[in-house]
């Protein structure tokens, strides 16, 4: 008994390394360091710099002058509505298209081929898609010519250099991403759940409504957020295919104008901060709504 009681404390129990490892700190944790440095230098520092810069107006005045200017000039504050008016419908349309296609692709044997075809637009880049659409949807493009030839329209439809041009381009470039995410959520659900619902008398629609949809809602919320953020930062197609001085004057155009035409980096930073805040507000709202749904594993049981 005495020998145990008087033994030095260090000889009792696990040593420091073991105790740290038990709390999740071991040599592997060090592998995070490069990523942390990278993030610090290329994200945290520029962000902080821009944040501070946005409160130092170029033309003098008090620290909120840039923000006051933004929210008093309709040419500036309307860009928020313009951007949301593009990004939200585009994201919803992408999601609504992706869901039925993902449900179909899930059952197919040669998934990979179709998935590859559907994902190709992601590799093209927004500029190439924009140029393609300019030709295809333009007044002399194939689309209008075909409709004219069949006599469905008497005058070419105006499909580019307006809202719909940007809309189409965002759907094309955003869809693959939305689709891939949706597909992974849909295939993550145990097919036995649908079979069970069928044997219990649920029709195809009831199976979707009562089994798939509740289990997919959290995944759809994440998909919505990621797709929305992509669409929200639209720039090339809004310039190339839209009306960059009118309905498709999105917030990134306002920031670019401030930075590269007025050389007002402080103002540009303020706009970027506002842009970030709007995105964050939408994302937080959508993610918070996940709390309304079941969020556990989407398989039947422990198995």
């Amino acid at each position: 008994m005495d020998a145990v009681a008087h033994a030095p404390a260090a000889e009792h129990g696990p040593n420091l390394r073991q105790r740290l490892a038990a709390r999740g700190f071991d040599a592997v944790t060090l592998l995070v360091v490069p990523a942390a440095i990278f993030s610090l230098l290329l994200f945290v520092y520029p962000f902080a710099f821009g944040f501070v810069l946005s409160f130092e107006p170029k033309g003098g005045g008090d620290w909120l002058a840039n923000y006051r200017r933004f929210f008093s000039d309709p040419f500036l504050y309307k860009t928020i509505a313009n951007t949301l008016w593009l990004a939200i419908p585009v994201t919803l349309v992408n999601l609504l298209l992706a869901v039925p296609i993902a449900f179909r692709v899930r059952l197919m044997r040669r998934q990979r081929l179709l998935t590859t075809i559907l994902v190709l637009p992601i590799t093209l880049g927004t500029v190439l898609v924009a140029e393609g659409l300019l030709n295809y949807l333009g007044p002399q493009g194939w689309f209008n010519r075909t409709l004219l030839t069949f006599g469905l329209i008497s005058q070419p439809l105006k499909l580019v250099h307006n809202y719909w041009g940007v809309f189409a381009s965002l759907v094309i470039t955003g869809f693959p991403f939305t689709f891939l995410l949706t597909l992974s959520y849909v295939t993550g659900i145990d097919p036995a759940l649908e079979q069970a619902a069928a044997t219990l008398g649920a029709s195809a629609w009831q199976r979707f409504r009562h089994v798939y949809l509740p289990l997919l809602m959290p995944g759809f919320a994440i998909t919505f957020c990621l797709s929305f953020v992509q669409a929200f930062s639209v720039f090339p197609s809004a310039v190339l295919l839209g009306e960059p001085a009118g309905v498709t004057r999105v917030i990134s155009i306002a920031a670019a104008t401030a930075a590269f035409e007025e050389y007002d980096y402080s103002m540009a930073s303020s706009i970027a901060m506002i842009m970030g805040f709007v995105q964050l507000a939408i994302v937080v709202a959508v993610l918070a709504s996940r709390g309304l749904f079941y969020r556990g594993p989407a398989s039947g049981a422990k198995g």
Partner: protein, 361 residues
Amino acid sequence: MTIALSQFDEVRLDRVSRDFGALNALRDVSLTIRRGEFIALLGPSGCGKSTTLNCIAGLLPVTGGAIWLDKSRVDTLRPEERGFGMVFQNYALFPHLNVRQNIGFGLKMRGRPKAEIDRKVEEALNLVRLKGQENKLPGQLSGGQQQRVAIARAIVIEPPLVLMDEPLSNLDAKLRLEMRAEIRRIHNELGATTIYVTHDQDEALSLADRIVVLRDGIVRQVGSPKELYEAPAHFDVADFMGFRNKLKGQVVAIEGDRTILDVEGARISGVARERVSVGSTAYAAIRSDDLEVGEAGPNAIAATVDTIEYRGREFVGTAHSTGGLDFVFRSHVSVEPGSRIHLRTEDERILVFAEPVQGRQ
């Protein structure tokens, strides 16, 4: 008891086939299931037993034949129109619904009034002994409780037929025995008609009124547990019924109801279950329980002990003969590995089968 299962006389499978491309998973399976029966579909994996169940449930379309519920044809109906209750191997409980909602799902889909749903769910909860758990999510239940929810969910819709796909295979040994008794109790209390898929002959023997042994998509034998256990019709059925000793030999004589085989020089005399002729190759099949350590003489074969295991009441050993035959035997005394012994049994404990045709017939 207000859970009253739909009444009918019989379910008939009429030459049901199912192909997966070039593979015939089921070939001309014909089977009549009478009301109130507990039928076990037994066979090794890949024999077509789950395919049969899925075809009956409507989860797999049949590629030939028909399934009848009395006078109405059901194989052309969608699964939701058949109304058969099914218990899945992994239970397939809806993870986002609590126990009560899971059990009530089928009734809700049928648009039954809420009062009726509540009453029947309550009763199903009592039947499977899950009172007090009704507001838990499946993830908060143990395996055995999930199993009970799956059963309650399948029977609360009052199906003419309850289909169970290896429902006990995910449970530990003790729980498996417990739930086996529960399944039989629920079957009896409801007067249900059950088709139960399993690869475990103990389960099939203890639960079923009739066992259907499938192999390579063909029905090999249908009979009561006693019939199958005591008089398997084919070599592969015998193999499944615990005849683990398979002694290959030549038929040297047929005397009355005894067929005599020469197995590595030993004369083994048994009861032929298939037609064999003198001079042909045949197998003598003996249960490990029936093969005992004994004296040299008739029906005895010399072997060298490989292993011996203590099993409480007795010892179970393995041995091999000089000709390379393997044996599993039992013994009341421990024998030393490496020692030479004689293994023997009685004539009527030995079944003689013709050499099975290799591959698919």
